[in-house]
Amino acid sequence: MIKVLFFARYKEVLKQEQLQLQWQAQWQTLGDIRAHLVQQGGPWSVLEDPGIMCARNQDMCRLDTAVQDGDEVAFFPTVTGG
């Protein structure tokens, strides 16, 4: 299982802040998880945002960062704190 979190604009557009995904053997990176979600169509296209940021187990990472079963991943828009 993979836990996926969404924040800010993504959370609003998707009308959910987290979901669980059954692990799929062909997944290698966070980009693969994103592609899986985007292909569901409709509001999921929000994740095609070129400014998308992501985290793996609460560490900022890149879409080409490796992912494995049991991870918590998060997708969110460019951060704007400070």
């Binding site: 800010a8 985290a55 609460q58 560490d59 998060a74 828009p77 951060v79 704007t80 704190g81 400070g82």
Partner: protein, 157 residues
């Protein structure tokens, strides 16, 4: 000493600044930064804002940023406080202070922490205007500011 706080309550940047020296006689310089909610941003009149964050990751990322600053410059203390939730015009949002023997190190470390915080800590601002509320876009200038620290030298860019 590193202190990280994430809270909804307002804070007094004065009290925080005064505490950073902490009676440590090796401290020659304290630099503090306080960020405030402005009434005008990106061509819009702003009445207030909501700050969302990623609980858990927020504290972790701020600690990593503080540790990275301590690796780059000799610092006696680093303090970072960031508010979340509802904020009004003129209220303080964020406070960062650094204490060091010399001013160059304190200035560079404080500016570095702000630049990294702006681009690597999971906070998102939603501004309230007369026309409704909207999520603030990331600024290219913030990305550029953070990039200037990615050279090998620990010195000022």
């Amino acid at each position: 000493m590193i202190s990280i706080q994430v809270q909804t309550a307002p804070f007094d940047s004065g009290q925080l600044t005064a505490a950073v020296h902490g009676g440590n006689l090796a401290v020659g310089a304290v630099v503090s930064f306080t960020g405030y909610v402005r009434d005008f941003n990106q061509q819009k009149q702003v009445h207030g804002m909501f700050l969302e964050h990623f609980p858990g990751m927020t504290e972790k990322s701020l600690e990593q940023i503080a540790h990275e600053a301590r690796q780059r410059w000799p610092l006696q203390s680093v303090q970072i406080l960031h508010r979340v939730g509802e904020l009004e015009q003129g209220e303080p949002i964020v406070f960062v202070a650094t204490a060091s023997a010399h001013r160059e190190d304190a200035f560079n470390a404080c500016a570095f922490i702000m630049d990294y915080l702006k681009t690597r800590a999971p906070f998102w601002k939603k501004e309230q205007t007369a026309a409704g509320s909207h999520w603030v876009d990331g600024r290219a200038s913030d990305q550029a500011a953070a990039t200037r620290w990615q050279q090998d030298s620990k010195d000022s860019p």
